[in-house]
């Protein structure tokens, strides 16, 4: 991969409020590589928006270092910071288009001070609008457009100064699922075609899953887990990450059902609940029937799902194993040897799987 385009070390951010100091970010360390789509996910109030606002200097930091495109943000003068912001564009949840300007005027506003002639500006504005598929709406006002269209205008505006980094601050959170999908497709295309580095702040796991190459999970102002999106999805370590992944894949729902009445679901009270995660669907399904025969255990599949994370398939099966405990142990060891991540499910704990002795699954397991 490319070089780190954003380097953050031990970043902290405190606010002084009348009720005392409030720590919004604490000991944040991040390296974001050029060309990646980096997701920052967390619950509301976790500090994820504050973090991106530190990247373009909208929020002054309280400690640590933050380097963007080789420049140390806290050391820049106001003028240098404005210059750098032309290379770091931002798209907001509420679009923030200027209501009194037309779509064209909104995009052209970003080109103020660009040194282009008005004919060149018009030309560039048209090109940007056709890039986001809105050339026919150039003369409309933002209030005449739908949310998705307004967000496309905001993206066109953000691209006006040929940025190298695009910050999306909950950019799809106000949109319906279908519109979200089209915006995410656009973002992915921009990443591919313009080689833009994109930072996506979101609370929606779906967004991370469909476009991000990397992800950082932020909780109470600290990054609790980060890595390649696939790895984090496949082997969630932190409690919050497991909750996000579990909620997303439906695993949490299964556990809720089990908790509310395992016996009613027709389960063998002596059986073991096992969560198997794997990177290759066909292999895993074949193995389940293989262990049934080879080790004489009964595998009762309660739940199965398959996801595509960052373009790679990721499967998940929750099953009840019954039979001789020694046989079950052998069966599980065998599965581990085949690259399947095995975790015991305790219905009492919402965070689901215990991770001890769980082998990590990586993209290499994909045949």
């Amino acid at each position: 991969m490319g070089n780190a385009i954003i380097e953050i070390t031990q970043l902290s951010k405190r606010y002084d409020t009348p009720e005392g100091a409030y720590t919004a970010l604490h000991d944040v360390n991040l390296n974001i590589e050029e060309g990646s789509i980096f997701g920052i996910i967390g619950l509301s109030g976790a500090g994820k928006s504050t973090l991106v606002r530190c990247i373009n200097g909208l929020e002054p930091i309280s400690g640590g270092t933050i380097n963007v495109l080789g420049q140390s943000i806290p050391d820049l003068s106001a003028k240098e910071l404005r210059q750098l912001r032309k290379s770091i564009s931002m798209v907001f949840q509420q679009y923030n288009l200027m209501p009194s300007r037309t779509v064209e005027g909104n995009v052209a506003l970003a080109l103020r001070h660009s040194g282009l002639s008005s004919a060149e500006k018009r030309d560039k504005t048209r090109k940007l609008l056709s890039l986001v598929g809105l050339e026919q709406h150039a003369q409309s006002h933002p209030s005449q457009l739908s949310g998705g269209q307004q967000q496309r205008v905001a993206i066109a505006r953000a691209l006006a100064n040929n940025p190298r980094i695009l910050l999306l601050d909950e950019a799809t959170s106000a949109l319906d699922p279908d519109t979200t999908k089209t915006i995410l497709e656009l973002v992915k295309r921009l990443n591919r075609e313009l080689h833009l580095t994109i930072i996506v702040v979101t609370h929606q796991m779906d967004v991370v899953k469909s476009i991000c190459t990397h992800v950082a999970v932020i909780d109470h102002g600290t990054i609790v887990e980060q890595g390649e999106a696939f790895d984090v999805f496949a082997n969630p370590q932190a409690e919050l990450t497991r909750r996000f992944v579990g909620d997303y894949t439906g695993l949490s729902h299964v556990i809720d059902v089990l908790r509310s009445g395992g016996a009613a679901a027709g389960l063998d009270p002596d059986g073991q609940l096992i969560h198997m995660s794997y990177a290759n669907k066909t292999v895993a399904e074949g193995l389940v029937s293989a262990v049934t025969e080879q080790f004489h255990v009964t595998v009762n599949i309660l739940f199965a799902s398959l996801d595509i994370v960052d373009g790679y398939p990721l499967g998940s099966i929750v099953a009840q194993y019954s039979g001789d405990p020694e046989h079950i142990k052998q069966a599980l060891d065998y599965l581990r040897g085949k690259g399947i991540r095995i975790a015991t499910v305790h219905p009492e704990s919402k965070a689901s799987a215990s991770t001890n002795a769980a082998a990590s699954i990586t993209k290499e397991h994909i045949a």
Partner: protein, 225 residues
């Protein structure tokens, strides 16, 4: 002609005085308005951007302007005229007539208009300013392209309201020595008990205000999106 003579006998009897007083009112309005308009925009904008949390937060400037505005607004206009008397004479060379009225008129209306302008700018979505900052626009660009440009409609509305208040200030200062329709209605209508003169002054002011209101509404509507 006969109807006019019948309805407004005293006005028709001496039409020059009526015309003269209309001209004086217009003069006061037209000379002072551009000045309080510009001053009010400057002060209102300064209040809005230097307030705590504003784009150019500056406690000293904000507190000074804020208190000054409150002080000026708490003095009734009639008292303000008397208070400014020596200063007016120093600045305008006279404290009477249209010339002597301009300075106290501006001082009287500017704090009112500044507050209105301030509330317009404070009502602007702060996210618009933030997104302009994120775009790399400098403070002057933001003032011009966001604060002023996005507030045209609301500024038209508060300017209309202020113009109407300003009209009553003109009448007050007119009645105490500056001339104009206020003086006309007071001296002829009230003191000589010629009711038709008061009615004529009221109708003229009504026409005047209607024109201002219409212009304000048109500008406001044209810039509303």
């Amino acid at each position: 002609m006969t109807i006019l003579e019948h309805l407004f006998p005293h006005v028709v009897e001496n039409p020059d005085v009526f015309v003269q007083s209309i001209l004086e009112t217009l003069q006061m309005f037209l000379i002072a308005t551009p000045e309080w308009f510009i001053l009010g925009i400057i002060f209102g904008l300064t209040l809005a951007i230097t307030k705590p949390g504003g784009m150019w937060e500056n406690r000293a400037v904000f507190q000074f302007l804020d208190k000054l505005t409150n002080l000026c607004r708490s003095i009734p206009f009639v008292i303000m005229i008397a208070l400014l008397f020596p200063l007016t004479r120093l600045i305008s060379g006279t404290a009477i007539g249209v010339r002597g009225a301009i300075f106290p008129l501006i001082v009287g209306i500017t704090p009112f208009f500044s507050r209105q302008v301030e509330s317009v700018f404070n009502g602007l979505n702060p996210m618009l300013i933030e997104s302009a900052q994120a775009m790399g626009l400098g403070p002057w660009s933001i003032i011009w392209s966001v604060y002023l440009r996005e507030s045209i409609s609301a500024l038209a509305r508060v300017t209309t309201i202020t113009c109407i208040s300003f009209n009553s200030e003109i009448a007050v200062i007119g009645a105490i020595g500056a001339g104009g329709l206020g003086d006309y209605a007071n001296r002829y209508g009230f003191e000589r008990n010629q009711l038709d003169i008061t009615v004529a002054a009221v109708i003229t002011l009504l026409v005047f205000i209607t024109i201002i209101q219409t212009i304000g509404t048109i500008i406001g509507r044209k810039n509303e999106h």
